[in-house]
């Protein structure tokens, strides 16, 4: 059973396809209208990170730092020290990829009110190849104290996450994608930092119970796989874990208790990502079998999003295979 707040007929029709980065652009402008302290910084990737929407609306609150991600992180920290709420955006591979130490020391250790947006995350950036495909950013940000880590599932959630980050006082990392991905939620869907949501409830007629936990734009793949399982005699639920840190441990423990096995799905290295976070928590409080869908200690390569998701095992057949493995 699909949750009510999602797109109607989501699994019956071809989904609308929109890049999640657009949600950042719209959300930032909206946040900027509400709060004059919001400023945006760009390292020569203003249009592709969708920062241009804010920059055009509020040119006096936009800083172009040039191709200098390390400087951008620390300049933002300095602006936050003076009461501004800076949003810094680049490709995730460069920010926070290249600027990790500056993010750790000058943003997180300072407990600076800076928001970092890593765009073009994951293999889905496609033809640009491995140099531009951030598959480690969740891990890099998750291990830093004070840092909140969010991977929105679509354009609407990216917009809401941006608005929530603007309200939250402290460092936040939000990862978004370049390519068009399915629109799953609606403008009116709810979002709260640190709250997981059940997107699909398993068919209770079936004895076998699998819980699929997904983060980011692979959520549609997870829903399609779960719908197929529910029809084929396996009860499958889908939890959207948009916030990877702080992990919604209460919802996670409840979800684990209601299922026989779990499968995690993410467009990221399974080591240190969502799969890692879920395993770390549950292994201490409620051990359960967890099979992880994502990239397994490999670099990406050029290709289309669909080719790469298939190759690295993140498409619908791969999720079904992972469920089989978990239940075996």
């Amino acid at each position: 059973m699909l949750a009510n707040h999602l797109q109607p007929n989501l699994l019956q029709e071809e989904p609308e396809m929109v890049p999640s980065r657009n949600g950042y652009g719209d959300g930032l402008k909206e946040a900027g209208e509400k709060n004059r302290n919001i400023v945006a910084l760009s390292a020569d990737l203003t249009e592709s990170t969708r920062t241009h929407i804010f920059a055009e609306a509020f040119p006096e609150r936009f800083i172009q730092v040039g191709i200098a991600e390390q400087n951008m992180a620390s300049v933002a920290s300095g602006m936050a020290a003076m009461g501004k709420i800076p949003f810094v955006a680049s490709y995730a591979m460069f920010s926070p990829g290249r600027s990790w130490e500056q993010v750790r020391t000058t943003i997180a250790y300072n407990d600076s009110n800076v928001k970092i947006i890593g765009a073009h995350a994951g293999v889905s950036v496609g033809p640009d190849g491995a140099t531009h495909q951030a598959l480690e950013d969740i891990a890099l940000m998750r291990v830093i104290p004070n840092m909140v880590v969010i991977a929105p599932c679509d354009v609407h959630e990216a917009r809401r996450a941006t608005l929530a980050a603007a309200e939250y006082n402290g460092p936040v990392y939000i990862r978004v994608g370049r390519e068009k991905t399915p629109v799953v939620t609606t403008v009116g869907s709810s979002f709260a930092i640190g709250k997981a949501e059940i997107f699909m409830k398993r068919n209770e007629a079936h004895n076998k119970k699998v819980g699929i936990i997904v983060t980011g734009t692979l959520v549609h793949n997870a829903l399609v796989a779960a719908a197929e399982l529910n029809e084929k005699g396996i009860g499958a639920s889908v939890m959207n874990m948009a916030t990877i840190k702080p992990l919604d441990t209460e919802a996670l423990e409840k979800f684990a208790a209601e299922h026989d096995v779990l499968v995690t799905v993410e467009e990221h290295q399974v080591a240190g990502g969502l799969g890692g976070a879920v395993s770390e928590h549950l292994s201490e409080v409620a051990p359960i079998r967890i099979v992880k869908v994502g990239v397994h200690d490999q670099f990406g390569q050029s290709g289309t999003m669909d080719e790469l998701n298939a190759h690295y095992g993140m498409d619908v057949p791969a999720i079904l295979k992972a469920v089989d493995k978990a239940l075996a």
């Binding site: 400023v39 006096e60 609150r61 800083i63 730092v65 040039g66 200098a68 390390q70 400087n71 992180a73 620390s74 300049v75 933002a76 920290s77 300095g78 602006m79 936050a80 020290a81 003076m82 009461g83 501004k84 800076p86 130490e101 500056q102 020391t105 000058t106 250790y109 300072n110 407990d111």
Partner: protein
């Protein structure tokens, strides 16, 4: 800008001497930490906190204060001693430097100690933060009279991030940013001219669109005049290259790069044994304090 009378210069020199004595005492007690930089910058720290900057030790978060960013965080014993003598926290607390539970962390932590504007230690990022502060202040109030002061090391200029920040400061014409480079010529591995030559430094900085001045970093009146001039520059950021003597004030430690990262008791022993290093340094500074003459003018 204010002209300093002889009596005012004398008072500041006495204060810098007291701060140097505190630096030696805290480093000896800590058993680790940096000696050369803090002693070398004591005159400038004193000038900033006892004369130049607008700040209130009893109200460290006062919104209208000038901001001070220490980019080379490892010379924090000098900043901590200055803050304590200025009244931010008790002077006795200096002896907790680098100890478990202390607010005086080995490298500065913003949220631990009043008066610390930012955490620093990893080199090169303080200047960026100062640039961010200057940008934010100008954005908030183009007519603000607040200044953002930033001290960097010279070895620190090896970091690429410094030049990223310098480019942005020049592009944005940050008139409210005043950078002081501690040009002491040393870094951990040796003399800067051998590790990574910086010259022609003035020309490099001018090429990045800074207003550049060079001063004797121990001549308090000259540094004060340079800061005053920097405050008057209205279409560029300013840099003052302050030529300092590493370990200034303790002649047997001076100019030797091996004092960069060692405390008295663990420094080079060619001239003073480990056992006597702390004692000799304090004796030297106390004797200098006695000889600082109120009317020491040319």
């Amino acid at each position: 800008m204010k002209y300093l009378s002889d009596a005012e210069v004398h008072t500041l020199e006495q204060k810098a001497n007291e701060i140097r004595q505190s630096i030696i005492e805290m480093l000896v007690e800590a058993g680790s930490g940096h000696t050369a930089g803090p002693l070398g910058m004591a005159d400038i720290f004193t000038l900033l906190y006892f004369e130049v900057m607008r700040h209130d030790p009893k109200n460290p978060d006062w919104d209208d204060r000038d901001r001070f960013v220490l980019s080379n965080g490892h010379i924090c014993p000098g900043l901590y001693a200055t803050l304590a003598h200025a009244g931010y926290f008790p002077v006795e607390e200096l002896l907790t430097l680098r100890k478990f539970g202390s607010r005086l962390q080995g490298h500065p932590h913003r949220t631990s100690l009043p008066g610390i504007e930012t955490s620093s230690g990893p080199l090169g990022s303080g200047l960026s933060q100062a640039v961010g502060m200057a940008l934010a202040e100008r954005m908030e109030n183009p007519y603000s009279s607040k200044y953002i002061y930033c001290v960097t090391g010279d070895g620190e200029l090896d970091e690429g991030q410094i030049w990223e920040a310098a480019m942005l400061a020049g592009k944005e014409k940050l008139h409210n940013l005043i950078v002081i480079v501690d040009r002491n010529g040393i870094q951990i591995d040796g003399y800067t001219k051998n590790v990574m030559p910086l010259e022609p430094l003035r020309e490099k900085l001018e090429a990045f669109n800074f207003d550049v001045q060079e001063v004797d970093g121990h001549n308090i009146r000259s540094v004060n005049d340079a800061i005053g001039k920097a405050q008057g520059v209205y279409s560029q950021p300013s840099i003052i290259i302050a030529h300092t003597i590493p370990s200034k004030g303790v002649d047997v430690f001076e100019r030797d790069f091996r004092w960069h990262g060692n405390p008295p008791g663990k420094g080079p022993e060619d001239r003073v044994s480990h056992e006597d290093q702390g004692k000799v340094a304090l004796q030297k500074l106390r004797s200098l304090a006695g000889s600082i003459e109120p009317a020491d003018i040319a």
